[in-house]
């Protein structure tokens, strides 16, 4: 049987394209079942972007969950071996929604082991290439938890104020960051640095320069060195045209450390790709390794690309090579 490209939905096409891409980089397919013991999520609830979990009891009376996330299952089951393990997956995840529950298609990859700079750059490059193969107009935004959290840590130790600052930073609200900082003893230099950092957005070379000017200590300097190293590798490979820096991107500090990133496709109002360095999660699960990975959310693709196929005259290009 031959596969007729026109019979595939955009999301199905994307699954095959991405599989080819990840296989060509030496990533191995990792297959997981749809079910997991609920306990895993109960213990790591804040790792999940969406806290809603669908549960049921199995025939032994154990509380089970329909997987809301794949990363946790992979990390839990992966063996503590020497060397770096590279895997990718394509699975459905399940979330509750206003109208009951939803099944979402997700593709992603994880790299577990010794995560060097070059490997981080490889993973971000793959995120970049993933979107390049799906949508013509896309962006990959990178941030570094060490930079933004370093600025926040320099302002206050109060966890309540930190939480408020994180929300204001994620909203890119310059005024609110300043207002919250006014309640603390932090000097103008620190509050201005954070307020400025959260509104910075643009090409890596420009933003790195500005970020150097507002960096406050060794931690924030080290984060910028990290970022610069990755941006350099990306630019050597010609992958900076659609790359941006955005320090307002933050993830849960209990799981993520270091580089984090998000991907966007013009016409889809939420991020379609999300990833980062999550050594802290492995530590929580008792593994002594580093990890970085990302997930691509394919469910919103169909609506965008199907409407383009019918409306645009130049649409409908095959994306399977």
């Amino acid at each position: 049987m031959t596969l007729n490209d026109n019979e595939l939905l955009p999301s199905e096409r994307a699954v095959y394209t991405l599989r080819q891409l990840y296989l060509s980089y030496g990533y191995k397919r990792y297959k997981v079942s749809k079910f997991e013991e609920y306990d895993l999520y109960a213990q790591n609830k804040s790792f999940l972007t969406d806290k809603s979990i669908l549960t049921f009891t199995d025939t032994d009376g154990r509380l089970m969950a329909l997987k809301p996330d794949i990363t946790l299952s992979i990390i839990k089951n992966i063996k503590d071996t020497q060397g770096t393990q590279k895997v990718f997956y394509n699975e459905c995840v399940y979330r509750a929604s206003d109208s009951g529950f939803r099944e979402l298609m997700q593709t992603g990859l994880e790299c577990i082991g010794d995560i060097e700079l070059s490997l981080t750059a490889e993973v971000i490059s793959l995120a970049y290439k993933s979107l390049e193969r799906i949508g013509e107009n896309f962006l990959i935004d990178i941030s570094h938890m060490g930079f933004t959290m370093g600025l926040i840590d320099a302002i206050t130790e109060d966890s309540n104020i930190k939480a408020q600052l994180m929300l204001a930073v994620q909203a890119k609200s310059y005024d609110e960051v300043k207002e919250i900082c006014a309640q603390t003893k932090a000097g103008d230099r620190f509050s201005n640095a954070l307020a400025r950092a959260c509104v910075l957005y643009g090409r890596p070379s420009d933003i790195l320069k500005e970020a150097r000017d507002i960096s406050v200590n060794a931690q924030t300097n080290a984060a910028l060195d990290d970022l610069e190293g990755i941006v350099n590798i990306m630019s050597e490979n010609g992958l900076t045209k659609n790359l941006r820096l955005d320090f307002s991107i933050l993830n849960d500090t209990n799981y993520y450390n270091g580089i984090i990133f998000k991907g966007f496709i013009d016409g889809i109002p939420q991020s379609v790709l999300s990833g980062g360095r999550y050594d802290s999660l492995l530590e929580k699960l008792g593994k002594n390794q580093g990890a970085i990975g990302f997930a691509v959310y394919l469910d919103s693709l169909d609506r965008l690309l199907m409407s383009k196929d019918t409306s645009a005259t130049d649409g409908g290009d095959s994306i399977v090579g």
Partner: protein, 215 residues
Amino acid sequence: MSDNYVNIALPKGRLGESAYAIFENAGYDCPDIHKQNRKLIFENAQNLVRYFWVKPSDVAIYVEKGAADIGIVGKDILLEYRPDVYELCDLHIGICRMAVAAKQNFTDNPDMVLRVATKFPGIAKHYYAEKSREIEIIKLNGSIELAPLLGLSDVIVDIVETGKTLAENGLVAYETVAPISARLISNKVSYKFKNTAITQISKKISNICKENIDD
């Protein structure tokens, strides 16, 4: 609607009209908007802006879901629904506060569950959770001031502008939950793909609004 236009959601009513005046002042006018007709969408091909009027409490949804790239919304709506959007600047108009009000002779009895009538259950819940105070929320859609007068609730959490309505009904605002004013918000993805246009609008609006405070 993914094209070169910046789609702007304005809240129907006085606040939206003042906000539009600021946009007009910043060079983003759209003469059609003043014509009295039943059209819902107005655009100006010269400066590439497209306006539409929506219910004030819906602005955040339009922006979060990307139907509008940017919008004008009260801080009360942002606090209540906590939409995932960027909050680009404070317009310093529509200034008021979210407050707790009760009858003049009211004293809070910590032994009892506090009954709170409000249009803003999210804000009320968050405010009292931080104080670890147990409450029962009575969600109303209007005439909130009536609730304590009829014994339906102990207090109300509502927007207070001048305090006149409260005073005329023998109520008094005794705690401020948060100061409120109109904000310019942006969809997070639009902000990235229409970055030049949106940051330019935000900068101009912010400058005009800062001048307004100095007056």
